[in-house]
Amino acid sequence: NAGVTQTPKFRILKIGQSMTLQCAQDMNHNYMYWYRQDPGMGLKLIYYSVGAGITDKGEVPNGYNVSRSTTEDFPLRLELAAPSQTSVYFCASSYYRESEEQYFGPGTRLTVT
C-alpha cells in the first residue's frame, strides 16, 4: 500500500495563476479531506468528501474547489491564486468516520508570489 500520495511536493505560483493539487489513496477509504497548515499553526479543513460524487465545505473553502469522481482520487483546485493561499496542503483519508483516525499524505508546500 502506498497509502495517501500527493503531488506535487513543492510548487511556486504567481498571483492569479491556477493549479490542481493531486491526492490519491489506495486503501479503499470512503472519506477524504483537504487541510491547509499555515506556519506554526494547526490544520484547518478546506473541503471533505464522504464518498465518490459527494463533497462538502470545511472551515476555509473560499478560493478552492474539489471534485470526487472516484473513491481513490480527490483533487483540490486553486483558482486565481493569492498570497494568502501560501501554505502547506495535506490530504487525508479515513475508512469511515466512526472511531477511525485519518491517514495523512506527505503534503504539498505551495508558495504564491
Binding site: 490544520l43 471533505y48 487525508a92 472511531s99 503534503g107
Partner: protein, 110 residues
C-alpha cells in the same frame, strides 16, 4: 463554533523528566485524536480516544479523555530526545470534520 486549545504551545524539557500537555475543547464531543508531526513532515496518528475515561498508552506517551471536563491530556514519562516533535490534538466536531489545536512544540534536551 468549536474551539480547541492546547497548552503549553512550547515546551522545553530535559531528558528523563515527566510532563503533561493539555487539550481543552469548547463543545461536546466524545472523539479526540492525538497526532505527532516532525519538522517538515506529515502527521502521524498516535491515539484515538472514543469515550469518557478512555486511556491509551504507547511507550512513554499516555493519553486520556474526560468528556465531562472537555479535556484531554498527553502525559510524557521519562522523556527522550526522540520525542521532540509537535503534538496536535484534534476533536471530531460533526460530519467527519476535525478541528485541530495549534499544536505543542516539544523539545527534549539532553
Amino acid at each position: 463554533e468549536l474551539k480547541v486549545e492546547q497548552n503549553p504551545l512550547f515546551l522545553s524539557m530535559q531528558e528523563g523528566k515527566n510532563y503533561t500537555i493539555y487539550c481543552n475543547y469548547s463543545t461536546t464531543s466524545d472523539r479526540l485524536y492525538w497526532y505527532r508531526q516532525d519538522p517538515g513532515k506529515s502527521l502521524e496518528s498516535l491515539f484515538v480516544l472514543l469515550s469518557n475515561g478512555a486511556v491509551k498508552q504507547e511507550g512513554r506517551l499516555m493519553a486520556s479523555l474526560d468528556t465531562k471536563a472537555r479535556l484531554s491530556t498527553l502525559h510524557i514519562t521519562a522523556a527522550v530526545h526522540d520525542l521532540s516533535a509537535t503534538y496536535f490534538c484534534a476533536v471530531d466536531k460533526s460530519g467527519s470534520r476535525l478541528t485541530f489545536g495549534e499544536g505543542t512544540q516539544l523539545t527534549v534536551n539532553p
